[in-house]
């Protein structure tokens, strides 16, 4: 019986030095696929290698043989001794392998859970497997289901949204400070892509006005037009700091743009209204000590990444939901796999009918005499449809019993009733 085998390593099971060895050569996937295709014990195969994981998914009749040859292959690809990395590998068989593939595709197994790149990487790996004709019925179905699971997880849970965006984290924080962002004023210093993203998020939350400052005033004007904001020069920042509630900084300046003393001087004039600095510049624009001032909060890019981690932990509920989706799909796939078990019997039934038809037509050809091509065709159609009608009910019966534990008995009876195995013996 054909089984699914998944061997691999990820960011949890193996250190980066090890993963690097297997991920360096871009041609590795091709080498791996052609090697696995050449093996007798492996029927279908697929190879995925990213900076965070290496995965091989194969179908095989002999798990042990396949596993040994895959580990051997990895050792040659990465130029590593087997004992160096074999403890870092995980092995999943059958449904566990299916589950793992689904989890990987829907980014539940990623280092940053919910990050979207992995799905693209799997699609590329699968495309290569189909191009090199190493994937077959089982893997094709498996991968298509995996893409489907990833899509469901993305649309039905919030895992992806929270995980990827820095600006989402920043907005969440701002809400914990200001309660709501309606009517709040935002100052944008510097005009990077990330700052733009944050600005867009803030506007969607209803901030009332936005001021944009940039080293080159033209760029400030440009950006201000996009957000219907007011452009100012860098020299005017300090006056604006008295008015605004949220400051997003992202300049390339090597020194602090917002020093501690400056902010301290502002507090009283601001009547201690809270001030939130979102510093997404590297190196930082806001002196870190500013965070020590009362009612002033400074979050730099690392802090925000910490918040993202926290948000993700908070998404446990979402992760549970995603796991449930994966389980549902594993069950569905299992059902489909089981129908595969009846396929060989059905195929041999059909082959037997086909061979009987051929034989009988040959026998009767002398009695039938000369026939026009259309008459020959008519006889073929007639005999074939009789055979199909006769076999239709047994085939349906088998398909319906595919999930039953007694399936093997039914298959056995069918093979005996129709004498399928004897035929095969004779052929051989």
């Amino acid at each position: 019986m054909t089984r699914i085998l998944n061997i691999g390593m990820n960011h949890l099971s193996a250190p980066v030095e090890l993963r690097e060895c297997l991920a360096t050569d871009a041609d590795n996937a091709h080498k791996a696929l052609s090697y696995m295709r050449s093996l007798d014990c492996i029927r279908e195969s697929m190879f995925l290698s990213t900076c965070n994981r290496v995965e091989t998914v194969v179908t095989t009749d002999s798990i042990d043989k396949a596993r040994a040859s895959i580990i051997g292959m990895m050792s040659r690809l990465g130029d590593l001794a087997e004992h160096h990395f074999s403890s870092c590998l995980y092995t999943f068989v059958d449904l566990d392998a299916v589950r793992h593939v689904f989890c990987v595709a829907s980014s539940l197994d990623s280092m940053v859970v919910g990050e979207p790149q992995i799905l693209g990487q799997i699609k590329v790996a699968y495309a290569q497997a189909t191009r090199e004709k190493t994937s077959g019925v089982i893997l094709n179905r498996l991968m298509h289901r995996a893409f489907h699971v990833a899509k469901r997880v993305k649309t039905e849970t919030e895992i992806c949204e929270a995980a990827v965006s820095i600006s989402y984290a920043a907005v969440e924080l701002a809400k914990k400070i200001f309660h709501e962002l309606k009517g709040k004023k935002v100052l944008l210093i510097g005009a990077g892509e990330m700052a733009e993203l944050a600005a867009r998020h803030l506007i969607r939350q209803g901030v009332s006005s936005m001021v944009v400052a940039n080293r080159t005033f033209e760029r400030a004007v440009e950006l201000a037009e996009v957000f219907r904001a007011r452009p100012i020069s860098m020299a005017e920042i300090f006056a604006e700091l008295l008015e605004v509630d949220i400051v997003v900084t992202s300049t390339a300046s090597p020194e602090y743009i917002i020093p501690y003393e400056l902010v301290r001087g502002l507090l009283r004039k601001r009547r201690n209204r809270p001030l939130f600095f979102i510093d997404i510049a590297v190196p930082r624009d806001v002196q870190p000590e500013v965070n020590n001032l009362d009612n002033v909060y400074v979050y730099d890019i690392d802090d925000l990444k910490g918040v993202i981690q926290f948000n993700m932990a908070q998404r446990q509920q979402e992760a549970l939901k995603a796991k449930r989706i994966v389980e549902e799909e594993v069950v569905k796939y299992e059902k489909w796999l089981k129908t595969l078990a009846v396929v060989p019997t059905i195929v041999s039934l059909q082959q037997k009918a086909e061979s009987i038809i051929e034989m009988e037509i040959r026998k009767s050809s002398s009695a039938l005499g000369d026939l026009s091509p259309s008459q020959v065709e008519a006889i073929r159609t007639l005999t074939r449809s009789i055979a199909e009608k006769v076999l239709n009910d047994p085939i349906l019966f088998l398909k319906n019993r595919a999930e039953r534990p007694t399936l093997d008995n039914y298959l056995d009876v069918t093979r005996k009733l129709f004498n399928l195995d004897k035929d095969m013996d004779r052929e051989e």
């Binding site: 914990k176 400070i177 200001f178 309660h179 209204r273 809270p274 009362d294 009612n295 802090d303 926290f310």
Partner: protein, 279 residues
């Protein structure tokens, strides 16, 4: 009868406290609704208990520490229920209910006193004095709890170590708002309470003010709260500093309420109050 109402109130308030604590852990809205209505039930029994006491004694039932604590607990829940209607801040209950229940438990450990009440206490000014003071105390208690919640939340945001409280507690602006709102309303109640108190003193003792320890400490409490309110309104204090200050103020208030009565004596202390004539 009295006994029954008190115990019913205590039972439901404890049950509500348990519910509110499970609510803050599990974050289940249905749990909040149950706890809220259990608390309302407890509050109703508590009100019946107080009304019964008022009817039986002919004056506000606050003449010994036991009933004063229970009345304090009642006024905190009363203020909370009003705040809940106005602010709809579910998590506040998880802080208020334990605090109110704590006072009730303290109250329940003290012995019941029986006997007729001195006629001098059967006076409307006394009821007014006690009523306004305790509503003020209830508001200050909410300000105190909001300040604690503020400091918890602010600590997490400042230190950038977001823990389990981060998502459970409301925003800093909300907590600061509640703190400021309860101060703003608590202060007039405290002021009116002190004025009606001195009017009652004039009526009962023949003098408005006699530098009794309780009176002095009430004045100190009043000055503390006045200072905090001034800093908030005139200077623009807010956030952390205001929260710490309102916690200090509340400690002074509690000392005035319990400490002075127990340790410093004076005519206002519960023991020398001699509310009931010994038989």
């Amino acid at each position: 009868m009295n006994f029954l109402w008190f115990n019913l109130a205590l039972f439901f308030e404890l049950l509500a406290t348990a519910g509110f604590i499970v609510f803050i852990v599990r974050q289940n809205k249905r749990l909040f609704r149950y706890s809220y209505w259990i608390l309302v039930t407890g509050f109703v029994f508590h009100t019946i208990f107080l009304a019964h006491g008022y009817y039986a004694m002919g004056t506000a039932p606050v003449l010994d520490l036991k009933s004063a604590l229970s009345f304090f607990s009642w006024s905190i829940i009363f203020v909370y229920l009003i705040f809940q209607i106005k602010f709809r801040l579910m998590v506040l209950g998880s802080f208020v209910a334990p605090f109110a229940s704590f006072l009730m438990i303290l109250s329940s450990t003290m012995p019941w006193t029986e006997g007729p009440v001195k006629p001098i206490f059967k006076n409307l000014w006394l009821t007014l004095h006690v009523g306004t003071i305790f509503i003020g105390n209830g508001l200050f208690a909410i300000a105190f709890l909001a300040a604690i919640m503020y400091l918890l939340q602010e600590h997490q945001i400042k230190r950038k170590r977001l823990g389990s409280f981060y998502s459970r507690l409301p925003s800093l602006a909300t907590l600061d708002g509640i703190n400021s709102y309860s101060l703003m309303y608590g202060f007039p109640f405290l002021t009116i309470g002190m004025i009606t108190g001195s009017i009652y003193a004039q009526y009962a003792l023949g003098t408005y003010w006699q530098w009794d320890p309780k009176e002095v400490w009430s004045l100190i409490t009043w000055l503390f709260y006045a200072a905090l309110l001034h800093e908030r309104l005139a200077v623009g204090w807010r956030g952390r500093r205001a929260a710490i200050m309102s916690i200090i103020c509340f400690c002074v208030l509690i000392f005035t309420f319990v400490g002075v009565s127990l340790w410093l004596g004076g005519y206002h202390s519960f023991s020398s109050l001699g509310a009931r004539e010994k038989l």
